[in-house]
């Protein structure tokens, strides 16, 4: 490509063919430029700019049929800056009239050829001037600083930005997965009809403007997460999709019953294994599996937790299979996160689609914070009539710090760090300017391992010395209790249907995904021979790490995993690859299907309550099945409808 560097592609253009703008100056708009886009010169359409490959650009004017009528720009990325800041300096001349300059700034860390175009933020400054026979613009150090004053600046608009709502839907292709919105092409499901009609009625550019408005609102409210490894503490907004995911009352009712059943059983399971261990004695779940769980806490044996509630806050991941049934993918019973995105994105959506909310009759979720507070207060040790609840955070550098601060503010409780806590005589206090104040319930957003250096990870400074003894003495309650990670171990997951039958004598309402244990010889051999059909997961991991997605893997990745599985069979499980359902997302100016899951939030206090809604996570990369935010996922607001 090096010969393209600063290449000047000359095409003779008769002066009469060049659309000459009036010499007004307009600032360049800084926005996303997905491909392909149209080029306007002060409002007059002159051509279409398309990104031919990750490094090539070209412009065609309205008269592509004649060689003479073509303005072409070509350029290539400088090799040195290709990874994070590729500057493309391009020069094109027409018949003594125009010079152009392209500057592309790529987003950090992109690698893939295909995505780099979509992910690159293009700033395009093209200047035309009539006065001098040939104008050359010095390549500006600053992309917005065009030095020639009398030049007019082309305003570049994206091709798709000014499409109407109906046009954005035109490319929507169903791909065999269950689609949340469409039964068949152009046939929306009943619950989506209002949204569909709204989309059809939208004028050109309205969706893009709404999207911009939503992003701005997230940014201004500081709804961000921290990107590590950046010295200035970069904060980014959580990628958010504009179109809501809608769930009917009947579907929700089933989810609600199913989750209640499942969590009740898992809670009984936790109580059992940390006390008598009847389920092991009866041979329903092998002791070998329970005791080898990474998150099994021997220290919890025979400790009485308040009201026998181990799992107070749950965020179970559900997916919808191609038959349209909700299936449990993962139980998150330790410190599930993301609820702040559910709450804040609802606020933003209300600003953007006020009319739609009324028409659809969406059930409210705003009561979550009050419900969480009363659930936490319910856990308080006996005799503490007005208990003090605090939220324990690892601190401002944690990626979920926004959520911690948000929840603490919403509940009106103190946001404490480990160094604020003091344990004296097995009672926990926090240091305030008023003196020490007793703490009764800790909603901890720290993993078990870091809570108490005396008992767990001895180098931890996130927790406080003596917390576990205070817990053992019954003077403090944790939400969630310690050691709950056993029940969301992916090997235990395979036994959950049996666990439900054992404790509740009922059939599971929500299905689980068929799970093969690699510690079982026969199952292991079966999977190792057909790795391309399975998803292999490490049992104690979360966040989409340590996974092999068979259908999307290379032979080398598969052989690596085969070795890993054979080295530590207990550490892996395999599940058949499931085609997650898709939902319409507004991506690159068009509405396209993307795979989604659903994480409802459940609170277990005096009774089990489930907030009608949740976090719908979206795999924003086309075709991807991984929805985790650490792996390029985003979120959607989730609407549960009233009857």
């Amino acid at each position: 490509m090096s010969q393209c560097d600063d290449a000047i592609c000359q095409y003779a253009v008769p002066a009469s063919d060049v659309v000459l703008p009036t010499a007004t100056e307009r600032p360049l708009r800084r926005s996303w430029f997905p491909r392909p886009f149209h080029v306007f010169v002060t409002g007059v359409w002159v051509g279409r700019l398309s990104v031919a490959s990750s490094v090539m650009w070209s412009i065609r004017t309205s008269k592509p049929e004649t060689e003479r009528g073509r303005i072409a720009l070509k350029g290539s990325a400088n090799d040195e800056g290709a990874t994070d800041r590729a500057r493309v300096s391009t020069l094109a001349q027409t018949n003594g009239a125009a010079t152009a300059n392209l500057d592309a700034e790529h987003k950090e860390g992109h690698n893939e050829q295909h995505n780099s175009c979509v992910n690159s933020r293009l700033r395009l400054a093209i200047a035309l001037r009539t006065a001098s026979p040939m104008m050359r613009i010095a390549f500006p150090e600053h992309p917005f600083a065009v030095r020639e004053t009398s030049a007019a600046i082309m305003i570049i608009d994206t091709d798709v930005s000014d499409r109407s709502g109906a046009e954005t839907l035109r490319q929507y292709e169903l791909n065999g997965a269950y689609d949340e919105m469409f039964r068949a092409a152009d046939h929306p499901r009943k619950q989506y009809r209002q949204l569909y009609n709204l989309l059809l009625s939208l004028g050109p550019g309205e969706l893009r403007r709404s999207k911009h408005e939503a992003d701005q609102s997230f940014f201004n409210q500081g709804i961000t997460f921290t990107v590590y490894g950046h010295d200035k503490g970069t904060e980014r907004i959580f990628p958010h999709d504009l179109l809501p995911r809608i769930i009917t009352a009947a579907e929700w009712e089933r989810i609600e019953r199913g989750l209640t059943q499942r969590i009740t059983a898992l809670n009984l399971f936790l109580k059992d294994i940390y006390h008598e261990g009847k389920i092991i004695e009866d041979g329903v779940v092998p002791g070998k599996i329970v005791y080898t769980c990474k998150h099994y806490r021997r220290e919890m044996r025979d400790i009485k937790v308040p009201h026998d509630v181990y799992i107070t806050v749950v965020g179970t991941d559900l997916i919808r299979n191609p038959e349209g049934n909700f299936v449990v993918l993962e139980d998150n019973l330790r410190v599930p996160s993301g609820v702040s995105y559910m709450l804040t994105s609802r606020g933003v959506m209300k600003q953007i689609f006020p009319g739609l909310f009324q028409k659809c009759r969406v059930r409210p979720i705003e009561q979550y914070s009050q419900a969480l507070l009363s659930t936490l207060r319910f856990l308080a040790p006996e005799g503490r009539s007005d208990p003090t609840v605090v939220l324990l955070t690892p601190g401002a550098y944690n990626s979920a710090y926004f959520e911690h601060a948000y929840l603490a503010r919403q509940m009106g409780i103190e946001l404490v760090e480990g160094r604020d806590l003091v344990v004296h005589d097995n009672v926990v206090y926090m240091r305030t300017t008023f003196g020490l104040r007793r703490v009764d319930v800790i909603y901890r957003r720290i993993d078990d391992d870091y809570l108490d250096p005396l008992v767990f990870e001895s180098g931890s400074v996130l927790g406080a010395v003596g917390l576990f003894n205070a817990y053992r003495a019954g003077n403090i309650a944790f939400a969630n209790a310690l050691g709950t990670g056993v029940a969301d171990d992916k090997a235990i997951y395979a036994y959950v249907p049996k666990i439900i039958r054992y404790y509740l004598d009922q059939d599971p309402i929500l299905e689980s995904v068929e799970t093969l244990l690699m510690s079982d010889r026969a199952q292991r051999d079966h999977v190792c021979q057909r790795l391309a059909e399975y998803v292999v997961k490490a049992v104690g991991e979360s966040g989409g790490y340590g996974m092999l997605i068979g259908p999307h893997s290379t032979e080398q990745e598969r052989s690596e995993f085969r070795e890993k599985i054979n080295a530590q069979p207990r550490n892996y499980i395999a599940q058949p690859a499931i085609n997650l359902s898709t939902a319409p997302c507004f991506v690159d100016g068009a509405i396209e299907p993307r795979h989604v899951d659903l994480r409802p939030y459940l609170l277990y206090g005096e009774k089990i309550t489930i907030t009608p809604g949740g976090l719908t996570r979206v795999a924003l990369r086309k075709g991807s099945l991984v929805v985790n935010s650490s792996q390029g996922g985003g979120s959607k607001d989730t609407w549960v409808l009233q009857n």
Binding site: K232, R409, D420
Partner: protein, 310 residues
Amino acid sequence: MLSRVADSLYWMSRYFERADNASRVLKATYGLILNPAKFSTEERWFRAVSSLAPGAAPSRVDPQRALFLLVADPEGEFSIVKCISGARENARQVREEISSEMWEHLNTLFHDVTGFELQPDDDAGAMRVVSLVREGSYRFNGITAGTLNHDEAWHFIQLGKYMERACNLCVLLDAYFLVDKHADDLDWVGLLSSCAAFEGYCKACTAELKPERIANFLLLKPEFPYSVRYSLDRMYEALNAISDLSLSHRTERVERLIGRLRSMVAYVQVDEIIAGLNKYLAAIIEQCRELHSAVHELYIEYPIEVAFPN
């Protein structure tokens, strides 16, 4: 309020005031060295460095580098950029306690001043940072007063601000009155503008620049916001408000110390102190230091034994 939170607010405020003070002094000093006068450029920079970066071995300071050192040196702990970072870092720890307007302003200011990436010989760039901080400081103080509840958090912020201001004023006065050579009028104007006091002084005492009057104005004037007396009065109010709110019974030491400090400036006349001015200023600084640790012990890092009297 959590002790850690109070501490962060206090230090946020101190760092910010420190940056503000440095920007005032640098602007005045930079203005001074453009005029030829009795004092050489070196001596003037020496004075600025010794008043802004105590313990920075000022004798070896290269006047060419002094401005860079005080504005943007990434190593030095006294540079303006470092102080703004310190203020922001403390604010970041307690983001939910301060108003979002305060955070946004401080955050923007931080990004503005760190975005310059100054080179050591770029005087004009350094002065741009200085004026950014001057403007930013007025706005920050206004935003804080206008958007934050005037409760405990506010009082800790006030305490930090005026503690820092009182100490800085004493150090600055010390540097100007230390030299036995008589400073000329230009230098006195420099001192007054370092304290944003030139206009205030002229209104109160006319433009006749006499060392005693200047000392009187900057030390003992209760109405002038950049005087030691004014700062100590505000500290006294903040401490009273905090102890009223906290219902603590162990405040005697803090009350005694602030009372003594105030009496040092409230019940003296300038001719009593002008002869031993340097000693007098040192005593004020020392007592401020003592007060700082007393406050820290009372509200922030008290031993557990104190909290459990039996």
